[in-house]
Symmetry: C3
Subunit: 266 residues, 3 copies
Amino acid sequence: MEKTVSAESLWSDLEKIRKISPLVHNITNYVAMNSTANILLALGASPVMAHAREEAAEMASIAQSLVVNIGTLGPLWVAGMLKAANAAKRKSIPAVLDPVGAGATKYRTQTALRLMKTGAFSAIRGNASEIMALGGAKAATKGVDAAHQPEQAFECAQKLAAETGAVIVVSGAVDLIVRKDRAARIYNGHPLMAKVTAMGCAATAVTGAFLAVNPDAFSACANAMALMGICGEIAARDCAGPGAFQSAFIDAVYNLKQRDIKMRRG
Amino acid sequence: MEKTVSAESLWSDLEKIRKISPLVHNITNYVAMNSTANILLALGASPVMAHAREEAAEMASIAQSLVVNIGTLGPLWVAGMLKAANAAKRKSIPAVLDPVGAGATKYRTQTALRLMKTGAFSAIRGNASEIMALGGAKAATKGVDAAHQPEQAFECAQKLAAETGAVIVVSGAVDLIVRKDRAARIYNGHPLMAKVTAMGCAATAVTGAFLAVNPDAFSACANAMALMGICGEIAARDCAGPGAFQSAFIDAVYNLKQRDIKMRRG
Amino acid sequence: MEKTVSAESLWSDLEKIRKISPLVHNITNYVAMNSTANILLALGASPVMAHAREEAAEMASIAQSLVVNIGTLGPLWVAGMLKAANAAKRKSIPAVLDPVGAGATKYRTQTALRLMKTGAFSAIRGNASEIMALGGAKAATKGVDAAHQPEQAFECAQKLAAETGAVIVVSGAVDLIVRKDRAARIYNGHPLMAKVTAMGCAATAVTGAFLAVNPDAFSACANAMALMGICGEIAARDCAGPGAFQSAFIDAVYNLKQRDIKMRRG
């Protein structure tokens, strides 16, 4: 594993987030809103949710990063997402896209591609099926849960990275971080994470917070995914099930210390 | 109690849900979305939320069941609900309706009736006041909480069942399951369930998961309500209050074993 | 501290809420909906969420109080908020406004002022930055988190109170309750409350419940804020972090006894 995804780099980013408390502007889905806000607060960031066309650009302009997630999209929301993305691009505010359910319906695939083409996003995080759908593979997504493993999406991720210049994150049991010329894998995590809704959405929002403090998008993405995985492992200890896991995860993020950061090597 | 609502039937359905992980398409309210998704995941199902007219029919068509809940309705959402219901009917995908707040406002009553008349729903679950409102009784609903007991709604439920061919579930301290020619009661449950928001919505979503694996709607409804009640009883043990109950309930669903399934007989 | 914000007054209001279970109509944001509903249920109130223009006035008319929160606003929602506010005013139903993010974008500031001008609101609760923005101060809000302390908003709160006749609540480490001719401070609370999303929104909703049983808006606001602070202190005991705090807070509200009500004096 490269130095940019080291424990030192993660800790350094986390300290910055806790110190600066970056304003992270989220246009995200109804399922994820509450847990996303709580995980960002536990991380030390300052989340704001604002989707309306009437204010999306203005809010994105005062934020340190933008998170766009199409999990429960509709036409008015897509309009706000486009306005926010364009504002972020104009102001060079880092942005991350979560193409939830791309491949499951035409509307989701097309909206994700349309957002991607704004050129605003320096990172795109999805599961394998979503990334394959955006990369043009004829992959059937089953709703919003992945029907594929990250490694099956490797070529699509590379293709997307080359087309967009963005870092592509394919999350799963082992997360893939892919840039045009580079790839890394994050081995941290726990199976209970897949049993709690919106953990993928949380990973995208956390990536937004890391992008706000780390100008190297590849490193920011890797650190965000490693933090998610490490906190998932901590939360899963002595845990009765996904209900208890949820609050334990938030507490793990809130209490994370440098000595807790142990990156797994596969 | 009849064989179709036996512990054996419930366990058999639950094993199927855990094995098949049916895709349950939810168009539900903002309050319930997160907890509904988490309870469906804990159950072993694969939830997806998608409300927009632009994709509701397509999403319903790839699902194993559809859940429509009018808890926080608006015109664009109702349009999506109708599209999803019609698609489910065309494709013979089982569907369940939750008429939240029917009787409280004209808009809710009329929307519930309009959805009901699509003929898409093989099950309708509500509290006594809601079922009475749909059955034409002059019953005052107090917001979204019931002002009546299930037995007071028995005749309305029978009338609705005869009119629609659907199984009518009236939930309360003792749940009523009513079909044209048949009725059953579920005695499991705990008073704390009424102190947590969206537990009724969760019951409807869980019914959706059971409908996905059990072609007998009466049995599916009874098993879903029994599972809710049993998990409520388990979660309430050593529980400080409704806050702790929420995550204990999710863990009870996730960990439910055959030996835990004890149906009460009143 | 005045008698109206005494432990006796708080307990008397709480007993009434638990006995009457007032219907509290909320038009609130997506982030806060679930936790708001659960906190109102734990308090003993009966929450209902309904935002659509098609039913907002009718729902407000059958409620015992109205809570309007602009946390995730959009044009259709603002239309519903105005209808509900006007209906509440016509029927003399007490109402409270939460101007989330006023000052962060023009849309939020203008919408909050527009709602305020309906004259429907007997209470307005915000953080210091929001109240300063409504009071005309050139204060920069950072998203939805306060960039100022309540005392910095004192003059703006007095000005707003004089203009509107409403009680102005400025929440923070020490909460300010301000009326034209009067002010009080609530010293209860815990820093973890700022680490959980929508605790401010919950304070506004709880204020709605107190307004439903206490015709003295100043006293209702003070009691609501004291209850929040006291329950925050109880919940924070032996608490691993903001995740555990959330459910502990709900349980503290649910279990609050007269002997637990100890108002701090700074």
